[in-house]
Subunit: 337 residues, 2 copies
DNA sequence: CGCATTATTGAAAACCCTTACATTTTCTAG
DNA sequence: CTAGAAAATGTAAGGGTTTTCAATAATGCG
């Protein structure tokens, strides 16, 4: 029933091809793997047999023989596909070039599924692991640190000692942003923290804190939306009914939009009274009105590079640099003055 | 270097476990696979050995022996992750329950990559194929029809003869919607067609046409954004500078937002002058202001059911129904009167 | 206690490749 | 034409499972 077995047709293996071409299976293998020791003439015979029989090498058997699967596991937080689109495209395109397959795994915030995923990865003998780590819990990161496998963190700086990472330095981005405002005498700055992307939010707070410290001040302006609040929208609406700030910083576009909507409801004019910056750019930050100021980043490259590094790791190349920082560009749009 | 080989540590296989437990590898295999013929006592010995050695069965070897990989390939159109989020979650969650792995493949609109993907699927011996088919070209569908493998179409009605499909009947949705307006004497209705999701758009047009026909009219109101137009936003802006309609229907949220923005620019009031319905609901249809009227669908279930059917297909169960239609609910929000 | 069953275990083939090493063929030069 | 070297090919051992069939151990019964 499986392996597309239509019952009658005999499975076509390397043996069939060998027989058809009148050579040994070793020769066929060599032709498949583009070894250059095969005589031109026999190579042609074999190739003809391959075409005639429609032979496709069995990657499973190859995996067993070679002890590698040319498959790498990708772990992303549940619900991240909205903003991870281009990253995945870059990753998949690159994987295709290097003939790697990608298996997909998601983690749900709050539930420590990492053990389960690792178990799966071990059993399926994936060659490596790429993790989009903007929402893993400390416990999950801890779990990962005990796991020996070529690993690339994607999105944020890896917390593991040995793993590589490809990331955008959002901490620095926020630092620069906040510094700019502080220099202009504005220090009524808040960061919205909905606890869905703790890893990232913590970075933002660090960046802001650093800027404040350098100005001899202390940053305490984060609005944490409690985890037990179902409707963060209502929470924010209520918040902005009683509070007003000069600059609001959000991580994701959805939060930025919520801020705009709730401010509008409460007659807070953006950007006149309150300015707003969304850290992560998305197609929606441009579609929404007012257009949301944000940091433009090379998402596609982020994914592509992560995969690229993974191939290096797997080919045994020495990867000297462990951290790859990609550039962002701040783009002021209509939510900032 | 691969298979997490730290060089020194010996790979732990079913042999190691057998030796450790003082039984044959056949017995270990039986314990792993929860065969009930093993004596309670020996089972315990084996399980202890497994834990002691930290043994994890090699899925690759299992795949070879069993001629199945418990992996299914998922093909989605490039750039669809925005709106496919929940579908994938449903799919992955269900896959997890049935212990299937998912490999991810994307197709770029306009490029026929299906052959490449099929080649890959054959080589990697995936057990089945799930396709999110709202943007495949006719050529790609054609290619798929020649391919013998358990297959489930997801999103739209499958065009293949044999394959199963799980879908939302958007044709019917549009039919009902348009009929309602026609009944109210409104027939100035257009569908925005940006040619990125031809499969789906064609369905919408069919639904509208049917409604028009029943009213003795002919539907011709689709605005096709030419493929060579880079900025569909500009195109629409230009369009609405000179045209106005009673009802605009779009497929995706991004198109709906573009319509709202361009109408606003051209001082066309929504919903007073122009009403707008977005077929596919998304988190953004609720976040945007005005909130965009749309059809609510059980996206998660869509993915979950597709995977569920796949498992049935693979376990050899007879799947009597080939088409699974899930319900939609029209939700009028602020872009309709 | 001995035999016929039945429950449990083991041996070995199969799954389909790769590759080290052995063997054969081809080529080169004397 | 032949020895020796180089190139091409073949043989067979692995890679880690599952599973059939044979062998052994346990059980029940007279």
């Amino acid at each position: 029933m499986n392996q597309y077995g239509n019952g009658e047709k005999k499975r076509v293996t390397i043996y069939s091809v060998a027989k058809e071409a009148g050579v040994s299976l070793a020769t066929v293998s060599r032709v498949i793997n583009e070894s250059d020791v095969v005589k031109e003439n026999t190579k042609k015979k074999v190739q003809e047999a391959i075409i005639k029989l429609g032979y496709k090498p069995n990657a499973v058997a190859q995996g067993l023989a070679l002890k590698k699967t040319t498959t790498i596991a990708l772990v992303v937080p549940d619900g991240s596909f909205n903003y991870i689109d281009k990253v995945i495209n870059g990753l998949l395109d690159t994987a295709k070039i290097y003939k790697y397959n990608i298996t997909l795994h998601t983690t749900t915030a709050g539930i420590n599924e990492m053990n389960e995923i690792i178990d799966n990865v071990v059993k399926s003998r994936a060659d490596g692991l790429i993790l989009y780590n903007d929402a893993f819990s400390a416990k999950e990161i801890e779990t990962l640190n005990h796991f020996q496998i070529p690993m690339v963190y994607l999105g944020n700086k890896g917390t593991g000692e040995s793993a590589c990472c490809v990331y955008i330095d959002y901490e620095q981005a926020v630092y620069e942003l906040v510094t700019r405002y502080l220099n202009n005498g504005i220090d009524d700055i808040v960061i919205i923290d909905d606890r869905k992307n703790p890893t990232s939010i913590d970075l933002l707070i660090r960046g802001a804190s650093k800027a404040f410290n350098e100005h001899g001040k202390t940053f305490g302006g984060f609005i944490t939306i409690p985890e037990d609040v179902h409707n963060s929208y209502e929470f924010l609406s209520n918040y902005f009914a009683h509070n007003k700030h000069k600059l609001v910083i959000t991580y994701r576009d959805s939060q930025a939009i919520a801020v705009i909507n709730t401010c509008t409801e409460n007659n807070i004019r953006i950007p006149d009274e309150t300015e707003l910056v969304c850290i992560k750019d998305s197609r929606y930050t441009d579609m929404f009105r007012p257009r949301i100021s944000s940091f433009i980043v090379p998402s596609y490259d982020l994914g592509a590079l992560a995969m690229r590094i993974m191939t290096k790791l797997l080919s045994g190349d020495i990867v000297r640099d462990k951290e790859f920082k990609l550039n962002y560009v701040y783009k002021a749009k209509e939510t900032t003055k």
